[in-house]
């Protein structure tokens, strides 16, 4: 009975008793949720274009952020370093298309998936060779990202919003919206959807598969750079960041691998769910439940919608 009370009643009493903390938790969940959505978007774009789960997305986040900070440390002005980092992500996209994807056209998806494993280790090695393994401080001030916080009395207490978190949420939201419009409303977006449906059919109507792949991998690279900047500013820029990128996996399971709205909604559900879960229920089992709670939430959704919230229902004749 006591356990039931602690699980079903007490957390809600706590929410009502300290609404400021409840709002703060919601805010934290919203910020990480948007960042998760951004990371998931990188995966979705590549999955839509090439039908492959890009295992290298995590290291792309690290590589992009390291390029930015590494160039700045070598004396390149911050915004020039930003442009060069974008350029580096374009080169990676081009290299991936020429050296990895093009030779593997029409190979089974698992081959492409394994190729992204290889790409991961190439980028890890390249990153360590060029920039070393030491952590770096993100150049948030030089990029004119805001710092400090906005604190106000509300909900019977104090609510504190970090300006960098506000910036992260705004930039991530704008980027997600822009990408959603780009891929839904433009010619390239329609071409991407055609490629996602069938490589052969897309080729037959004159869509350049190679061009689409470069565009999509480049876009995923820019998404990785933005993620690296925002998460690097919250912590540090190091190879540990690639672990964070894997938090997109439950988001993808939940939202569906092919849906941009799914990535957004999935990111927010996972972000809010894990923060609320850890804060109000984590203490019951000793805390530290976030790492698996995200998967639990995704699995619960899968019980009811096996294709994910926005995934395509695949009906196969047997």
């Amino acid at each position: 009975m006591d356990v039931l009370y602690k699980v079903l009643v007490d957390p809600f009493l706590q929410m009502g008793g300290a609404p400021d903390l409840f709002v703060q938790t919601l805010w934290e969940g919203f910020v990480v949720g948007t960042l998760y959505a951004l990371i998931a978007l990188g995966f979705v774009l590549i999955f839509k274009a090439s039908g492959v789960f890009n295992f290298a997305q995590g290291i792309m986040v690290v590589f992009a952020a390291l390029t930015l900070v590494g160039l700045y440390e070598k004396g390149v002005p911050a915004y020039a370093a930003l442009l060069l980092a974008i350029g580096a992500m374009f080169l990676i996209a081009l290299g991936t298309e020429r050296l990895v994807l093009r030779p593997l056209v029409n190979q089974p998806d698992i081959i492409l998936f394994m190729a992204t494993f290889g790409l991961t280790y190439v980028l890890i090695g390249l990153g360590e060779l060029i920039f070393g393994g030491s952590p770096k401080v993100m150049i948030a001030d030089q990029l004119l990202l805001p710092k400090g916080d906005i604190t106000f009395q509300a909900f019977g207490g104090i609510v504190q919003l970090q300006k960098i978190d506000i910036a992260a949420a705004v930039i991530a939201s704008l980027m997600i919206a822009a990408l959603a419009v780009f891929f839904q409303k433009t010619r390239i977006g329609r071409a991407l959807r055609a490629v996602a449906d069938s490589h052969k059919a897309a080729l037959s109507v004159g869509i350049s598969l190679n061009q689409i792949w470069v565009i999509v991998w480049f876009t995923a690279g820019v998404v990785a750079l933005v993620t690296g900047i925002m998460w690097g500013a919250r912590s540090e820029v190091s190879f540990a960041l690639q672990i964070i990128a894997l938090k997109a996996l439950p988001v993808l399971i939940l939202g569906g691998f092919t849906s941009i709205p799914g990535a957004i909604v999935g990111g927010l559900i996972i972000g809010l769910g894990e923060k609320l879960g850890e804060f109000y229920w984590g203490g019951l089992v000793g805390g530290g439940i976030e790492s698996w709670l995200a998967y639990m939430i995704a699995l619960i959704f899968l019980l009811f919608r096996p294709q994910g919230l926005f995934g395509e229902r695949i009906i196969e004749r047997i």
């Binding site: 890890i124 030491s134 190091s238 672990i243």
Partner: protein
């Protein structure tokens, strides 16, 4: 003919791949270093690896090795991954190593049962299993100069001093923010015992390794619980994230103390001026202004034999590596003295470690006066339970903020002995010590 040549070549290749690894040359001493220069924890692993390697290289360059015998130093990359660490051990053990430096509590725990079997001592310098300080139970494992339990007791002493005495701890709330792996959990039993003894409330905030850069929830919990003090037992990217999160919620930074592994320059640097006041335990000198560091600069850094960035020379974790390498070297030196041999092996070095007695005079001779406290190990005491001091971040660098402080040995030692006994009970068949004591305890 061509076919035969190809077949012969292939046979040679196969034969070579099954041939035993070449043992280290008999005129050198093989010193393996398990390090991590890659992966999520590389930021912490690199300065330590470079500090160890540079000190041992300096001994080779300046003194021609130890006792006239050159050291063959070889690194094995573990990525701070227990599985890879055990693989490294398998590669190392056949090469007649003088000891193992696992540089991971997880790897250390795996290797403890093998040390006695393979006759290769483990030097887990200020990490690993705290109970291994009980030499009568763990004759092959050494954790000088201080255990995690000693460190946690110094933290509690520091809190007591700031609060006005041990009796003032009653009713206080102390939080432990820790990496949720064996390393992070190590101080919990000691802090629980001290919380019962002094009446403070202990709050635990585990951080999963996957979430070390995503600690928002833990710090929300801290904001709700309002602990008076925080002890940070983190590693890698977890530490700078924790420091930043603490500044974000406005936690009093001078009430947050990290274990020595949460005291890298990079840990505090990211927090900048806002992290001013953050503290860390430490047991060796900080900065390059020690004769030993100047010798490393002269013989290794200035001659281009070091991989470490010159601008970071003398930073805290680099010096940690230097200290660790000094213990390795002094154990070899002591082993040579105890056994009378020049080229020593694992069994000899175990005796050397038990006979280790680094006096003030010896520290001065090594250029380490003021860099470290004297250390005296014994057959029953494999830690030394040495003094530590506290560093404080001034916004740009660490500064020494307290004198050397002794741990609560009277409290810690009986608990360690009980823990060692418990370890034996849980590991049926744990061998009774049969190794003779090279020095009276």
């Amino acid at each position: 003919m061509k076919r035969h040549l190809i077949m012969a070549g292939a046979a040679l290749l196969v034969a070579a791949s099954f041939a035993p690894a070449p043992a280290a040359a008999q005129d050198s001493i093989y010193v393996p270093l398990m390090t991590y220069r890659t992966g999520p924890y590389a930021g912490s692993g690199i300065p330590i690896a470079d500090g160890m390697r540079d000190y041992l290289t300096m001994l080779n360059e300046r003194d021609g090795g130890i006792g006239g015998v050159k050291l063959t130093v070889e690194e094995c990359e573990t990525g701070y991954d227990t599985k890879k660490g055990v693989e490294c051990y398998e590669q190392i053990k056949g090469k007649n190593p003088v000891m193992n430096n696992p540089y991971s509590t997880g790897v250390t725990l795996q290797l403890i049962p093998r040390a006695a079997v393979d006759k290769i001592p483990i030097l887990s310098m200020a990490y690993g299993l705290s109970a291994a300080a009980v030499g009568d139970t763990f004759p092959w494992v050494f954790n000088p100069p201080v255990t995690y339990w000693d460190g946690a007791s110094v933290f509690v002493e520091h809190v007591a001093q700031k609060e006005g005495g041990l009796d003032k701890l009653k009713g206080k709330k102390i939080g432990l923010v820790y990496l949720d792996v064996p390393y992070g959990k190590e101080p919990i039993p000691l802090l629980e015992a001290l919380s019962k003894r002094y009446g403070f409330e202990l709050k635990l905030y585990p951080v999963a390794a996957q979430e070390m850069q995503n600690q928002g929830s833990q710090w929300l919990n801290i904001r709700r619980d309002r602990p008076d003090w925080i002890y940070l037992q983190g590693w890698g990217a977890m530490n700078p994230t924790a420091v930043k999160e603490a500044t974000k919620i406005g936690f009093k930074m001078d009430h947050m103390v990290g274990v020595w592994w949460a005291g890298s320059d990079d840990d505090a640097r990211g927090g900048g001026m806002e992290a001013k006041g953050y503290k860390s335990l430490n047991f060796h000198g900080y900065g390059p202004n020690f004769p030993v560091l100047q010798d490393i600069k002269k013989y290794v850094v200035d001659t281009g034999k070091s991989q470490f960035p010159k601008e970071k020379f003398g930073e805290n974790l680099y010096n940690r590596g230097v200290y660790n390498a000094m213990l390795i070297a002094e154990a070899i030196r002591a082993a040579q003295k105890v056994t009378g041999k020049k080229v020593v092996n694992g069994e000899d070095t175990r005796k050397g470690l038990e006979a280790l007695n680094i006096t003030e005079a010896r520290l001065k001779e090594m250029g380490m006066e003021g860099f470290a406290a004297p250390l005296n190990l014994a057959c029953s005491d494999h830690s030394g339970h040495n003094k530590v001091y506290i560093l404080e971040w001034n916004g740009t660098k660490w500064q020494k903020s307290t004198d050397w402080t002794s741990p609560m040995k009277d409290v810690v030692r009986p608990l360690l002995e009980a823990a060692a006994k418990d370890y034996v009970e849980k590991n049926a068949g744990w061998p009774k010590r049969s190794e003779a004591c090279a020095k009276a305890s």
